[in-house]
Amino acid sequence: MTDYDENPGLFTAMLGVARRDLLLAWKRPGDILNPLFFFAMVATLFPLAVGPSPEQLEFSGPAVLWVAALLAMLLSLNSLFLSDFEDGSLDQMLVSPLPLTALALGKSIAHWLTSGLPLVLVSPVVAITFRMPLSVTGFLMITLLLGTISLSLLGSIGAALTVGLHRGTALLSLLILPLAMPVLIFGARTVSLVAAGDGVAGGLYFLGAYAVLVLSLAPFATAAALRISNE
């Protein structure tokens, strides 16, 4: 009868939520692929708008890839809590005796694995079209790896605040983009600095530090926001 005797513990709960979300994503691969196509398409828009000059593309490559990745992450964040909200599983999470923070972190882990990580893996292919050298591409992947972790977690706060609101999509961008600017600045500029042959340690340290900061604080804010928007 009582759930408390069978309390599975924080990690099991977190991993349980993450596993469930991964399984759901596996059954609906479109949810993973659409942001990736979006990423590739935004990256295609820039050369079409700017012109095919190789120097210009090489110069703007890091910036374009980073902006495209940021927008793709934003797109995938819209549906973070949406299906849970619609089918009532979010209510189950809210009334469960398990800490909501752990569940929110589990959701963010699954979200990063299904949106951030694929972006990191696909980025070299798009980077080639911008004539990015292989050594620079490695750094691009590292910055994207650290940056998308921050974006996933930061975005979960915005997604939790806007869940169940009409016109939530545009609102989510308005809430999250200003907060995401440090990640964009350090991510894109670090890659540009590598391309120019400058030192990059500072930028990588910042991205790492920011990811740790967001990892430790954002799940609490997300949990609080989920409670508020489902009162």
Partner: protein, 248 residues
């Protein structure tokens, strides 16, 4: 002490107290701004490098300082409202946001007007402080948009409070990262070790303007919060009695 805070935070008491406090902020505020404008435009000497163009700092600096100050006021009162469930604190946060957005806008416009003769361009992306002011403006817009999107006042209060607190943690990070990103602005002249690097005839009007703006901001905030309180309490008895007795 707690009794005092509770009494202060009760809407009817605040409503009448704020009405009595507004003149105490308006009068010194207007006097200080009047002195600041006159002294800034006519008494302060022209800058040996920037000429008369520097005089825009008498609007720019107070606005920029208040734009950040207001965000802190908003975030702190939102946190107070969320943690101790004081409804008045939420009303303060709601009233502060549009004022903060206006000061940010004013700082951006004056900064860009100053930039035209100085840099030869209306907008200079290389200037970190102008850029972080722009991001601050977006933060205010996001806050107000979230408030506007939620119909239920209690829910809007709490949701926007979470956003304001997340934003407050991020504002220093944004500021720092934009500074790292690039630097071109003239260094700070007011806050410097060993006193301000500014002539006294230029400095006093600036201090008067900063203080005067702060007083006027406080008066505006009180007025806004009064209106906010009145609207939120529109279904209570004291508001009904107030309206029936014809009082303000």
């Amino acid at each position: 002490m707690w009794k005092f805070i509770h009494k202060l935070a009760s809407p009817p008491h605040f409503y009448s107290l704020a009405a009595r406090m507004v003149p105490w902020f308006v009068v010194p505020g207007l006097l200080l701004v009047a002195y600041g404008v006159y002294a800034g435009l006519f008494i302060a000497p022209a800058d040996y490098q920037q000429g008369d163009a520097f005089r825009i700092i008498y609007i720019h600096v107070p606005s920029a300082y208040l734009s950040m100050m207001t965000y802190m006021i908003m975030a702190v009162s939102a946190a107070i409202g969320l943690i101790w469930r004081i409804k008045l604190a939420h009303a303060v946060a709601a009233g502060a946001a549009p004022l903060g957005a206006w000061f940010t806008f004013l700082a951006l416009v004056t900064g860009s007007i100053w930039g035209k003769p100085m840099w030869g361009t209306w907008w200079e992306w290389g200037d970190p402080r102008l850029t972080s002011e722009l991001i601050l403006l977006f933060l205010y817009f996001g806050y107000m948009a979230l408030r506007g999107a939620i119909d239920d006042t209690v829910k809007a209060d709490k949701a926007s409070a979470v956003l304001a607190m997340v934003g407050a943690v991020n504002v220093p990070i944004i500021h720092f990262s934009v500074e790292w990103w690039s630097s071109l602005h003239q260094g700070p002249t007011l806050v410097k070790k060993g006193g301000p690097a500014m002539d006294v005839a230029m400095l006093y009007p600036l201090l008067a303007m900063i203080l005067g703006f702060t007083f006027l901001f406080a008066a505006l905030l009180l007025r806004r919060v009064r209106a906010e309180v009145l609207f939120r309490e529109r279904r209570t008895r004291w508001v009904k009695e107030l309206v029936l007795s014809g009082g303000t």
